[in-house]
Each structure stands twice: as C-alpha cells, then as structure tokens.
C-alpha cells in the first residue's frame, strides 16, 4: 500500500512541474537556513576535541555581583575561584584560566595580533588538545612562572613559517616565551579552549589578579562522573554564600554550568539572578525564532498544496465514489507531502553543504570548520518531516472533506 502511495506521489509530482518546483524551492531554502544555524549551534555546543569530555565538564564563565542599586557583570576573579572552588567534592580536575586577550608582536616592523590565554597546567588535563609538536607545560612550569608557551598551527606559520617551533622564542606584548608545544587550530566558537598562544598564568606582569573577586578568570571542572555534576553545582553555590564581597555588593551569582547553560544565561530574557539553569528559556526563545521564520514558508506551502488538491478534484471524487475512506485519503496526501518535503530536504542538505563550505572558506569565523555530521543530518531530516506534516495537515483535511458529487463534476468547493 505504502509503495503504491509513493509511486502515485512520484507521478503527481511530475505532473505539475511548476508547482513541484515552487514547493521544492521553498522547502529547500527554509531547511537551508535552519540547517546552517543548526550546524553552527552544533559546532558551538556538541562535544568534540579538545572538549571531548564536555558531558563531564562544567565551567563558571559569567559572574554577576549585585548591590542594592547596581550590578557588575564580568568573568570571575582568581581569588574567587582559588579560595572557594578548590577541593569541591566530585571534581577530578579544576582548571583556572583567563579569557582571550589580544597580544601583539612585531616581526620586521610588521604587527602580528594573536589571542593570548593564560592557563594553569590542569587546563591541559581537562581538554584534549591535538599536539602536533611537543607537549603542554606542567605543574613545575606554572609554579615556577617559567616563560613557556603552547602555540597553535597558525601562529607557528606566522612566526616561523613551516619550520618546527619547539625551543624557539616567541615575543608577545614585550614578554619572551619559549615554545614547548604546537597544537592544531581550535575554532573561535569554542570559547573555552580557543586561543592562539597559551602561557602559564603566573607569567602575568603583576600579581594584582590574585586579589580579585571579579576579573578575567574562568573556572573549568572535570567531574568524576555524571552523578557529581549536580553536586559540584550545588556545593559551589552554597560556598558562594560565604564569599567576602567588596563594599556595596550583597550577592554573587557564579554557577558551575555547561557551555550551553552559560550561553543561555547571557540571553536578555534569562533570569541572571538565579543560579539555576536557564536552558529552558533559551530553547523556548530559539524555538520561537525558528517558528517565526518558518511561518511564511509554511503558509506558502499550504497555499500551494491546496492548489494542488484543486487540480486533482476529479481524481479524489472517483476515489471517494469507489469508497475510499477519509483517513486513507488523508494518509495518502500526507505521504505525498512528506515525500516532497524529504526530496526538498535532500536538496536543502546539498545546498547547506555548499553554504557551509563557502562560510569555512570565507574565514568570517576564525579557524572554524563547520561540518555536516550525522547529528546535523538527523536534525535536518527531523526538521523536514515536521515541516512536511505541518504544511500538509490542513490541505489534507480540506481534500478529505470534498463532497464526492461536486468533486466528480470537478466542481468548485466552497
């Protein structure tokens, strides 16, 4: 039976080529936009090297301190994490590292700007970087404030051409570091690992950072197991109640969260005073945006589907007259529509690959290689199915309600 529907659908789609073209155009374009966004989303939040253990990783990226009339939003300070985030139960490794800051170097009067991140040695144990040369700096290097650096592939090319860089000296903001490791480039959309040059945080020019509650630091914790995640979150929140806050502030919000949760926290509609997850609101917001965008294409597709039915009024009349139940007709039409959407989805996927390739080549997003993986593909197919069902339901219902007598005459339905 199903095979029969598919055959019939293929015939019908070939009959009105203009309508088929319009439908396919609309479907594939809509899916293209949704898929590119999905691929970016996936690239930002799905586990992948170096954040391969992301399901066990929590971080504090955004800290808000509240006073009676004002609030301060920033990254956390070293003191906050060093005093209160050490020895949390369930934590395997805890890393403190700074955000990326621009650092400048001059080679033969030419300026080179690199993103510099200061980290501790645990950073390299939580994140699994792909080392092309050498290795990370260790506990002794950090404790002894040695001027050593790990650089990425692009930085190696800029400073040393294609030659090996281990043992070479690299200058950044007037400080000279010895290169101990070279890693593959990491996309700037992965905010946790991303940088061009990584150096021990103890090489900072002054140690003013050691007394800061708000500052430039992030904390990253690798949990022992999934069960520990909630424990870490709750324990740190309760420790925050004991933090000695600067004058004028009463309350600090700095929850250990997944990357997605911390991005959700930045949304204007998020409740940033609550340390609990804001992902619910984030998903609702993104879904509303996607729905709003898909509204016009859906109405368009519904209109075309109805026109298509009107073309086939006499066929439907015959089938009804020979006793086809309403349900069968509805299913038949939905199958046709879903099939069409899947074909459109296929074209959309192909277009998505072209656009993603263009985005990667354009270099708008630094070091970013968006990919069409299985996950994104599955999302795409699901979006296409949903789209096909939604735009097919109303026309199918209209078709099933046609009066057989009118329909046989090819008459106008009112």
């Amino acid at each position: 039976m199903f095979k029969h529907y598919v055959l019939l659908a293929a015939k019908v789609l070939q009959r009105r080529k203009f309508f088929t073209f319009i439908s396919l155009f609309g479907i594939s374009f809509t899916l293209l936009v949704l898929m590119v966004v999905t691929a970016m989303f996936d690239h930002s939040f799905a586990p992948m090297a170096p954040e391969s253990r992301q399901d066990l990783t929590l971080g504090v990226h955004d800290v808000v301190m509240y006073g009676p009339h004002s609030n301060w939003r920033s990254s956390g300070g070293y003191k906050l994490f060093n005093t209160y985030a050490r020895n949390l139960p369930g934590v395997e490794h805890l890393s403190l590292y700074t955000g990326v800051r621009a650092a400048h170097s001059y080679i033969d009067g030419q300026k080179i700007e690199s993103g510099l991140k200061k980290t501790d040695d645990e950073f390299w144990r939580i994140l699994e970087f792909n080392f092309l040369e050498g290795g990370p700096y260790g506990t002794d290097d950090v404790a002894g404030a040695r001027f050593v650096a790990v650089i990425n592939q692009t930085t190696r090319r800029r400073f040393f051409g294609e030659r090996p860089a281990i043992g070479q000296i690299i200058e950044a903001d007037g400080q000279r570091f010895r290169v101990v490791g070279v890693v593959a480039d990491v996309s700037e959309m992965r905010q946790v690992p991303f940088a061009d040059i990584w150096v021990p945080y103890t090489t900072a020019k002054t140690d003013a950072y050691k007394s800061e509650i708000l500052g430039d630091f992030h904390a990253l914790a690798l949990a022992r197991d999934r069960a520990s995640l909630k424990q870490i979150h709750d324990e740190f929140n309760s420790r925050l109640l004991r933090v000695e806050l600067p004058k004028g502030s009463t309350n600090i919000v700095a929850p250990f969260e997944t990357s997605l949760q911390s991005v959700a926290r930045l949304l204007p509609i998020a409740d940033s005073k609550s340390p609990e997850s804001q992902v619910g609101r984030f998903v609702a917001f993104v879904a509303a945006l996607a729905a709003l965008f898909a509204l016009l294409p859906t109405v368009n597709l519904v209109n075309i589907n109805i026109s298509r039915i009107m073309e086939r009024v006499s066929e439907i009349g015959v089938r009804k007259a020979f006793g086809a139940p309403t349900r069968t007709l509805i299913v038949q039409f939905l199958v046709e529509n879903v099939l069409l959407t899947l074909v459109g989805g296929g074209i959309g996927l192909a277009l998505t690959m072209v656009v993603i390739h263009a985005l990667n080549v354009s270099g708008i997003l630094q070091y970013t290689q968006l990919t069409m993986n299985i996950r994104v593909f599955v999302y795409g197919v699901l979006i296409a199915l949903l789209f096909g069902l939604i735009s097919g339901v109303y026309p199918a219902w209209r078709m099933a309600r046609l009066n057989p007598v009118d329909a046989l005459k090819g008459g106008v339905s009112r």
């Binding site: 319009i22 650092a103 020019k205 016009l296 009112r414």
Partner: protein, 415 residues
C-alpha cells in the same frame, strides 16, 4: 463593480484567506528589512562630528585594580609621562587621553534627571583638553575644555547640539547650569560630599561614536584631569594620537616600545581608527546583509507561490470567465478583474498589517526604541506597501493573461 468583486472574493473565502495571510506575512517581513535599511540611510545623512584621518587609538591595560586613590594618583603620573613622551616624537601631531574613542568597543551610558523628573539618557566620554584637536571636532558654541577649568568651582561639561536642545530648548546653553534633581529612588547622598553642579562650557556638533550608520544620540563630554585635582575620578583607559602626514605603519613598533619604556608593566594595544571604522561598520552591515538575503529569498518564494496559486485558481474559473465573455465582457475586463481581486486582497493584508504595526509605538518598548523617527517609520511603511503591491500585481499578471486565452465557447463547454 467593487462590491461585486468583494462578493466573488468572499465566495472563495477559505483560499483567499490563506492568500491574504501569506501577503500579510510577506509585508511584515519586508517592512522589518526596509525599516532597518531606511534607519541606516537616515542616520548616514546626519553629521558625524569628527574625522579620523591618521588617528591611532591605543588601548591601555594597566593590569592593576585602581579603586585605591593612591594607585590612581600613581597611574595619572604615568599618563602624564606617556603624553610627554608622545608629544616629543616628531611623528605625533597631537596626543590626548580619554575613556573611549570613535569606533572603540568601550561605551559609557549616562542618565541625567532634569528638574521636573524628565530623564535624559546620553552617551558619555571623559577626555583631556586636547582630545577635540585630535579628532578635529567642529565646535558650535562656547569653548573647549581648557586650563581655566582647573579652578572652576563647578564641574565643566560639554554637550552635543541634540542634548543642548533637549535640556535648554532653543535657548543658549553655554554657561548654563544643567538643572538636575536627585532621583527619589537613589540612596541618600553622602552628606560629606558637596552635590555636583555641572555647567555647560561649550556645545559641539556631535560625537557619533559608532559611526555613520549608528543612530544619533545625546552625548556629553566630561573633562579628564591628569593632575590630582579630582582624586576620585577615573583614570583614562586609552591614548589617542594624530600622526603627521606620511608616517609609515612601521612607526607603530617604535611607538609601543617608547610607551613600554615609560610603563613597563602596562600593555598597549594600538589600533588604527580607519581599521576600527571598517570593523564597526561591518557590525551594522553584516546583519542587514544576512537578513536582507534571507528576506529576498523568502519574497522570491512567495512570488513563485502566489503565481502558482493564482494560476491554478484562474484555470479553475474558466467557466466563470467564459460566461462573462459570452455576456460581452472584453479581454481587458477579465484581466482587470483578476488584477483587481489581487489588489483588494493585498489592500486587506496591508491594512491589517499597518493597523497592527501602528500599535508598535504605543507598546511599552525599551527606552531606546523611540529612536526611530516618525518619517522613517512612515516612509518604510510606504515603500514596503508599494513593493508588496508590485509583487502581487506581477504575480497576477501572467495568470490574468492565461484567463483570457480560452475561447468563450470552449470555456462554456467545460464539462
């Protein structure tokens, strides 16, 4: 005739409702994009208030918390040294220190409550006396900050033309005290401190920090002192320099090395104002380009869809048209009927959309939403409406020709 057409449309209300709905959404989408573009176009016609030729902006990272007045005083001393060092270099024409500079990502929003409770939001920059000279800012009235402000018993400020008008109306602003009152919701003031009295010493044309496409706003300059006349005031975050003509880009290294020699613990990030301008402009044009491309494809899709739907409905109504032809209607009549039906549905969609959109300014939107002027709003509505009419007429044109291709005799013989 119109009544008759309305009845015809009503008879096919289900299908026509969906068509109208589609036109309605298209109009809304189009309006959003047109409004954004029109706002940019209107902004770019306003004066900018400065030039950036040969200006470099140097972000200074002082690597130290400066809550402590002792630290602040030490930092100001370093700044004085840095400015001296800069002015000694032959490549530097003028140098100044400030909180922020054009196209920089640092911004500072202030809010001034006037007597009577009227609240004015404005951008703020804190600048040393030479800042206007670096950016060659045109002065409209009064004077720039200068040494004579050192001994003033009030706080000198400068405002842009827009803000002067907002506070003082069309009257003279120079020399006037800004009539402020305390917000009753604020905590009670510190009794040991004298309440601040701010006096306008000059009016500058404008300072549209984010460039040509940004929306003009009120702007206020505070005077930044590098002596310790105001121990609690903030220390600058950047240096700005105008270079002599034909200074090579390689001078940057010399410049940074010289600054590092004065302040070895600080770091300096040199940015060229023209490069900063490019990337700031891109922040405005990229979203417009992305949204515009998507909207363009959506409209193309709608155009094709509408054509298909009208085409189908016309072929379906061949008998009706045949009857009209038989009763003496000309080909032109029939074509006009198809097109007028489109126009009626478009009008309906546009009308509903305009009524809905007109409610927007009445909603309690965030404060900065009133930046869109009425004329931009109305122009955008008009352009979007015209574009939607054009779109639907184009979509109806080919099917309307199709409607008259069938001979009346054949059409009447349909079954």
């Amino acid at each position: 005739m119109t009544r008759h057409l309305l009845r015809l449309i009503w008879n096919r209300k289900r299908q026509n409702f969906l068509l109208t709905l589609e036109i309605f959404f298209s109009f809304i989408a189009l309006f959003g994009v047109v409004l954004l573009a029109m706002q940019f176009a209107s902004n770019s016609r306003q004066p900018l208030g400065y030039t950036i030729d040969r200006v470099w902006s140097i972000t200074v990272d002082r690597k130290e918390n400066d809550e402590d007045p002792v630290v602040k005083s030490r930092h100001r001393a370093i700044y004085r040294q840095l400015l001296l060092a800069l002015r000694e270099m032959p490549q530097v024409e003028v140098a100044a220190a400030s909180f922020t500079s054009p196209y920089a990502n640092w911004s500072w929003g202030g809010s001034t409550r006037l007597r009577g409770g009227h609240q004015i939001d404005h951008g703020v920059n804190s600048v040393t006396d030479d800042f206007p000279a670096v950016f060659q800012m045109p002065l409209v009235a009064g004077r720039w900050f200068s040494r004579e402000d050192d001994v003033a018993t009030w706080t000198p400020v400068m405002v842009n033309v827009r803000m002067a008008r907002e506070i003082f109306g069309d009257g003279n602003a120079v020399g006037q005290i800004i009539p402020e009152e305390r917000d009753p919701n604020d905590p009670p003031p510190d009794p040991t401190e004298k309440p601040e009295v701010r006096r306008v010493v000059g009016v500058f044309e404008d300072f549209r920090k984010d460039g040509d496409l940004s929306t003009p706003e009120n702007f206020l300059f505070q005077r930044m002192r590098l002596d310790d006349g105001e121990p609690k005031a903030a220390v600058p975050g950047r240096l700005v320099v105008r270079l002599a003509a034909a200074t090579p880009a390689a001078f940057e290294e010399t410049l940074v090395k010289r600054l590092m020699a004065e302040a070895p613990n600080w770091s300096f990030e040199v940015e060229h104002e023209d490069v900063m301008r490019e990337s700031k402009l891109r922040q405005y044009t990229m979203p417009l380009a992305a949204v515009g491309t998507v909207a363009g494809f959506l409209l193309l899709m709608v155009a094709l869809g509408l054509t298909g739907v009208v085409w189908q409905s016309v072929t379906h109504r061949v008998r009706e048209f045949g009857l009209r032809r038989a009763k003496g209607a000309t080909i032109a009549h029939i074509r006009r009927q198809v097109l007028v039906e489109m126009v009626i549905m478009t009008s309906l969609a546009v009308l509903v959309a305009v009524v809905l959109i007109a409610q927007l300014p009445l909603l309690p939107l965030p404060h900065d939403a009133d930046i869109i002027s009425g004329s931009v709003f109305v122009t955008s509505l008009a352009i979007s409406a015209a574009a939607v009419y054009l779109l639907t007429l184009l979509c109806g044109w080919y099917p309307s020709r199709l409607a008259t291709r069938v001979q009346p005799a054949e059409a009447l013989h349909y079954e």
